[in-house]
């Protein structure tokens, strides 16, 4: 048996419950800080793709500290999340018109935001600051859409294979030049139980930089426009050959047995603790390598040359990475605009560029940095490889030229072959399917 209740009783309960909720909420809302006063220093928000900028991105941190010192009237409020959460946050913020003032974002997302009127055209700012000529031409064209320049380079993307000279020497091996050399190295090291190329697909499917460069050794730059406008296909004989080579490397035992469950960081750890002969990464790895016990034995290799490749084989990936962009709202606030201009001028000034280098990053302007040959031997090796005689760089990294789903399919296709889950044919089909599904 149950019972009904009087209306008065219900109303009283309801009111009491509402009161409790309201009181709780009211006191909590009261805790929030009011927005900053207009007469104090100007604050600009900078949102980055690392959960802790101070430790994970010391170069940016150092630049911010120096900038605030030089400009006491401007405060930079840095926040950061891991890439996935960072992008998630930006996407939500873009829809709600609450974007941070300056932020890191992928090129393809930046172009979408530009179309939606969410980003500032930096072209006038760059000319006003006299920065236009300080960037390599390819960098500027990379971040140009129509006549708007929507981004400035955050850091350089100089990628390749770090190698451990000692492991190679101990096994009577030379630093490879061609793909066949690399294959021979893998076979020899497999006998010794040593991983040749350290990489990890768990939560880091994107860690395939050296293979992306290989795509450029099979004519990617010339083919990609055709692939995207359906006059060509990712499923072509040249790319298929590359994937077959990746399968040969896999069969030679070049990769770690736990490549599927290993993260990129674990892969780095394997290399810096001397358990793997090579590491697929880029110049950003130099500080970790420099701090490790293998620092003295490390070299930097642009990657294998293929005798059945297409076009110039002597290339190294040395391009601008994702851009820093400025929210369109900044242009409506004069104080903020002035502060952001000061920040950009500082970031691309020689002092800040040297700070990049001091923290293991290549400069993104034409600045010629000072590199200490012993305490920065790893960075030195990478920079030397990038400026070796006869070597050139593609305009952009293959994954930066396509939409995010296609880029992810590329990563999956490469790791799919490395993990023996996809045949070379299935791998190229996977990417082609992603291109076609608009």
């Amino acid at each position: 048996m149950s019972f009904s209740i009087t209306t008065a009783g219900r109303a009283r309960r309801l009111a009491a419950a509402a009161l409790v909720t309201a009181a709780a909420m009211g006191s909590l809302v009261g805790c929030s800080s009011s927005s900053s006063a207009s007469d104090g220093p100007t604050t600009i928000s900078l949102s980055m793709q690392n959960p802790d900028v101070k430790t994970a991105d010391p170069a940016t941190w150092a630049i911010i500290q120096a900038f605030e010192k030089a400009n006491p009237n401007v405060k930079v409020e840095v926040t950061g999340e891991a890439v996935a959460e960072h992008l998630q946050k930006l996407s939500i913020a873009a829809q709600s018109d609450t974007l941070p003032d300056v932020f890191w974002v992928y090129k393809s997302n930046a172009e979408d935001m530009l179309k939606g009127g969410k980003l500032m055209n930096l072209s006038p700012v760059l000319s006003e600051l006299g920065l236009s000529d300080k960037f390599p031409k390819s960098t500027v064209s990379n971040f140009t859409s129509g006549d708007a320049i929507y981004g400035v380079p955050y850091q350089g993307l100089l990628t390749g294979l770090w190698y451990n000279k000692k492991i190679l020497q101990d096994n009577g091996l030379q630093v490879p030049v061609t793909f066949d050399d690399l294959l021979a190295v893998a076979k020899k090291l497999k006998e010794k139980g040593i991983t040749t190329i350290s990489n990890g697909a768990n939560q880091s499917a994107f860690s395939v930089w050296s293979f992306l460069t290989d795509l450029d050794r099979f004519g990617y730059a010339d083919k990609i426009d055709g692939i995207l406008n359906s006059t060509g296909s990712f499923n072509n004989a040249d790319f298929l050959r590359l994937y077959q080579h990746i399968a040969e490397l896999r069969d030679a035992g070049a990769f770690a047995s736990n490549v599927s469950t290993q993260t990129y960081q674990q892969a780095v750890d394997q290399f810096t603790s001397g358990k793997a002969a090579m590491l697929d990464a880029g110049v950003w790895g130099s500080s970790a390598i420099q701090k490790s016990s293998v620092a003295g034995n490390v070299g930097f290799w642009a990657g294998p040359q293929f005798k059945d490749g297409v076009g110039n084989q002597n290339i190294i990936m040395n391009v601008a990475s994702a851009p820093l962009v400025v929210s369109a709202k900044v242009s409506k606030d004069n104080a903020k605009l002035a502060a952001v201009k000061k920040f950009i001028a500082f970031y691309y000034g020689d002092e800040a560029q040297q700070m990049l280098v001091d923290n293991g990053q290549p400069p993104v302007t034409t600045y010629k940095p000072k590199v200490d040959p012993s305490s920065q031997s790893a960075l030195r090796a990478a920079l030397d490889a990038a400026s070796a005689p006869g070597v050139s760089s593609p305009e952009s990294q293959p994954d930066l030229l396509v939409s995010t789903p296609v880029a992810n399919a590329m990563y999956d296709s490469i790791y799919g072959v490395i993990q023996n889950q996809l045949t070379p044919q299935q791998a190229v089909d996977l990417v082609q399917a992603a291109v076609q599904s608009k």
Partner: protein, 277 residues
């Protein structure tokens, strides 16, 4: 007296679902503006082999978990209710895994299940068993995820059974004992029937939790190799945030919600039928 709960629930749970349902009919990349495309997202999912694989994995995890977890945690609750010395401490320890954030649970089990550096293969190595690819291979991952899920939930389910047993009126239990019912008879004819609602609670909670498994897979394999070990939610996360197909991801989210609700209701209907039969 129901109003505050109903208002908050509708505002912060139902409204968002309807909002996202709207997005599931659009093509939206997260940064541009959404474009209405009707049922296209649902059709693409039907043609996506990775989606079917994720569904298959989720079903495997669901079956393994429910079959082992519900009877297992019930038995454990009864065992720990007896006068076992240190029973309180045992209960707290069994509950331990349920307290750990799922992301850390995943991380812990990487150190146990990883084929190369994991504890399990190391131990097997001592007795001469060749390394097994518990995670990261082609087939075993969903079973491994089910195992980890059971580990993380058994204390949770056990606690609910324990509380359910506690609110049973003692007089009924004593009466059945005085009637000379054996332990098994009492269990079969008194305890289990009287705890029917508790069984429903635990089963529904476990079904809906399995449909929401994400962090475990994310930490153990990241969904790999090549999405072979994705669950529905991990694949939805990939689609929505990594692949930035927001509309498609919301379509997947809607499917997950509906599946979870349908399976739960089906269970309720089935168990009610048995009750009346």
């Amino acid at each position: 007296m129901i109003a505050p709960a109903l208002i908050l629930f509708t505002l912060f749970l139902v409204y968002p679902v309807i909002y996202s349902l709207g997005f599931s009919f659009t093509k939206f990349q997260g940064f541009g503006s959404p474009e209405f495309i009707g049922l296209q997202n649902y059709i693409s999912l039907g043609q996506d082999p990775f989606f079917w694989r994720a569904l298959q994995n989720t079903v495997i995890i669901l079956i393994v978990s429910i079959v082992l977890l519900v009877p297992g945690s019930f038995a454990l609750a009864l065992l720990l209710r007896r006068k076992v010395p240190g029973g309180g401490a045992l209960r707290a320890l069994v509950f331990g895994p349920a307290i750990i954030a799922p992301i850390l649970v995943g991380l812990i089990w990487v150190f146990i299940l990883d084929p190369k550096i994991g504890l399990l293969n190391r131990l097997l190595g001592f007795v001469g068993v060749a390394p097994v690819q518990w995670i990261g291979g082609d087939t075993l991952t969903p079973y491994a995820v089910a195992l980890v899920f059971i580990w993380g939930s058994i204390g949770f389910a056990m606690t609910i059974f324990y509380a359910g047993r506690q609110v049973l009126p003692e007089d009924v239990m004593e009466a059945s004992e005085l009637d000379g019912a054996t332990g098994f008879q009492q269990l079969r004819y008194v305890t289990i029937p009287m705890m029917r609602e508790t069984f429903a609670i635990v089963t529904i909670l476990m079904i809906t939790s399995v449909f929401k498994i994400f962090e475990l897979v994310y930490m153990l394999t990241g969904g790999g190799p090549v999405h072979r070990s994705e669950t529905l939610v991990s694949y939805m996360y990939f689609t929505t945030f990594t692949n930035q197909k927001y509309g498609l991801g919301m379509a997947l989210a809607v499917i997950i919600t509906v599946l979870g609700a349908v399976v739960s209701v089906a269970y309720l209907a089935l168990s009610r039928e048995r009750k009346t039969a």
